[in-house]
Symmetry: C2
Subunit: 390 residues, 2 copies
């Protein structure tokens, strides 16, 4: 019988994420509020699910003709086709030219893991990653763990108040970096599916090759299934098939078969015009609701006379956005008001509803009045591009 | 605009697996038969699903109280507890001592990937793997891809006609190897859940630390969800928590959240005595049916007077087993009879039913009579142990 542990050199890992939620859960204060959920919340404070998803899920579970066999390693073929059409548009030139493909993955994290493994295998000297966004924490760690040096980069156009695609393109060309886009919730930014992926169309039109992590968990409300895809755009079909065949080998070792349930539900919706219409309508309602919440937060802060300009709140699209608070103010909200906000001040606006909006805005007012104000650099980019220097 | 492909050095990957199925699908012969499906098949030739699974799945999809939020990175807690109790028994000393834990993974491949990543990170010098089983192809590739040298090893006791746990234990001790068990379908070997994991109990009782990949996809018939767990047995709770915390970090980068649906269905069944009873009964029926099929195959071959002893067919337990044919005979069956069998002659006996048994046994008879007979080394071990030299 062995006497020493094989694991004796293994220390307890330092937890980087999730500690805010943990502290929130351990807090006994009755009016505590958590504003950092990853998922979109309803006005009643539950994770949002598109109604058409519930209907489709029930329909599928009652269908005796379906089988529950392993999916191929590449995933559900109809799901890949439908998701690519959603991302690029049905009549995309790149789709017509057969130079766009994808591997069905376990969520967007799975797509990043797979893509990074591929780049490490075929561009062994690649060691530098530029993250063009404010999402360094989330994605940076995966790259750091795989031995990359991570730099942040901004391509914000201060005149147009947006991310300038031309600046972005120049950066990519001049630094010879390979673009790896992240589309985590198409349709939840502007509710216009096409508008939300315009940057991809632009890169395709300019003849670029790239990877893209596409997640369909958030915009359908199927969070627990991790429905994702690693999208590959190549210069031609021959190169695409080579890349996909190598990715298949990597996916085989990672999980062998991706999970089916979520992809099956989503494919049923995307391939049925009536269900597709219902889904689009549900996205519209969510986005309108979030915009309304942001308007109300801005108005209430202005009515309270809270120092500062709060226009940036409504200028941001999507579920998540910056309050524009400094770290002292964030700390005040967490410690004194039991309003849980990440250190960077980026909150999930769908967590704010009629029941908590007054408490939250009054809390923000108090935090701004009672703490020292300091210059705040508000992160600008909403979309994430990860550039790998090859 | 870039002119050269970033992927121009990437060749088409050489496909190792799946080509037999592909050839089968492309075959136009009307009576073609595929005997290498990974899943358990019904007498009607469909993938087997435990009836209680279908019932539970429907019940879950009709439950409005459930949410579909992301699972924690470690997975569904109740699933982990229920699956560990299934594996070790509810009153296992190791469970009572809090030194057994698990990470909910994307199938058994995910469990292997996660476990191997951990061992690479914490035992950087480990480079040699012993695979004690006949499953070198399946598991060996994952280890080879990660830079290990893979050796096959046998611990068959020719007198007792079984894998001798004492020989196994001596091997593990003398070579200082870390055991990584594979339990892909508990209950589908003998239909006795406890009997099918006795080797684990034995190693626990001897005070060993080990990993185990546990899959619950095959024994419930939820193939398309990849329900797995990486099981960790440590010498004490403190070491266990350290290992689990490091595994959490690795799982975060791999898929962040494991898929929920399959685990939710299985947990509902394992935690409800009535449903659990139904599931056990369904396992019993499957195993009895497979044994009956094997008996019939043996009888028919004996009636046909096929040269050779066919007792080994009924001596093997589980869905998959060896026919004991040499490579020439296998090739004859594939080429001449359109009966698709892997090169090693291991078939899925649940693919044989009343409709095809005569054609198959007559084919085997023909193959044996018409090809030269040669010494056959029949792989013996049914259970897989992967030993990593630390």
């Amino acid at each position: 019988m062995p006497t020493l542990s094989v694991f004796m050199d293994v220390p307890l890992a330092h937890k980087l994420e999730g500690s805010l939620l943990k502290t929130y859960k351990q807090d006994d204060y009755p009016n505590k509020i958590f504003l950092a959920y990853r998922v979109c919340m309803t006005n009643e404070g539950h994770p949002w699910v598109s109604l058409v998803v519930q209907k489709t899920r029930l329909q599928i579970s009652q269908d005796p003709s379906l089988n529950y066999e392993y999916l191929p390693t590449m995933g559900l073929k109809s799901f890949i086709q439908a998701s690519l059409a959603l991302l690029f548009g049905k009549h995309s030139q790149a789709i017509v030219e057969n130079r766009v493909g994808g591997v069905h993955t376990v969520g967007d994290s799975g797509a990043f893991q797979l893509g990074v493994q591929f780049l490490r295998a075929w561009h062994k000297d690649a060691r530098i990653v530029y993250i063009i966004s404010s999402q360094k924490e989330l994605h940076g760690l995966v790259f750091q763990d795989m031995g990359f040096t991570v730099y942040e980069y901004s391509v914000w156009d201060p005149k147009k108040l947006c991310m300038d695609p031309d600046i972005l393109l120049n950066v990519v060309e001049s630094k010879q970096i390979f673009p790896f886009f992240d589309i985590p919730c198409q349709g939840l930014y502007t509710s216009d599916l096409e508008e939300d992926t315009r940057i991809l169309q632009y890169f395709v039109s300019q003849g670029f090759e790239f990877f893209c992590s596409q997640s369909l968990s958030k915009n359908f409300g199927i969070y627990d299934e991790g429905v994702g895809m690693l999208v590959v755009v190549a210069v031609n079909n021959q190169q695409l098939l080579c890349v996909l065949s190598q990715l298949e080998g990597l996916a085989q070792a990672l999980w062998l078969n991706p999970p089916n349930t979520g992809a099956r539900v989503i494919t049923s919706i995307l391939c049925n015009p009536a269900l597709l219409g219902e889904w689009k309508q549900s996205l519209k309602e969510v986005v309108e609701n979030i915009m309304l919440t942001k308007e109300k937060v801005k108005e209430k802060l202005q009515l309270l006379g809270t120092p500062g300009s709060w226009g940036h709140i409504t200028e941001q699209s999507g579920t998540h956005g910056y309050l524009g608070l400094n770290s002292q103010q964030v700390e005040y909200l967490v410690r004194k008001k039991h309003i849980y906000i990440p250190k960077n001040g980026q909150i999930n606006f769908s967590c704010i509803n009629a029941n908590n909006i007054n408490y939250i805005t009054e809390g923000i007012n108090e935090a701004v009045l009672l703490t020292e104000s300091s210059e705040m650099c508000l992160p600008k980019e909403k979309k994430t591009l990860i550039g790998i220097k090859l």
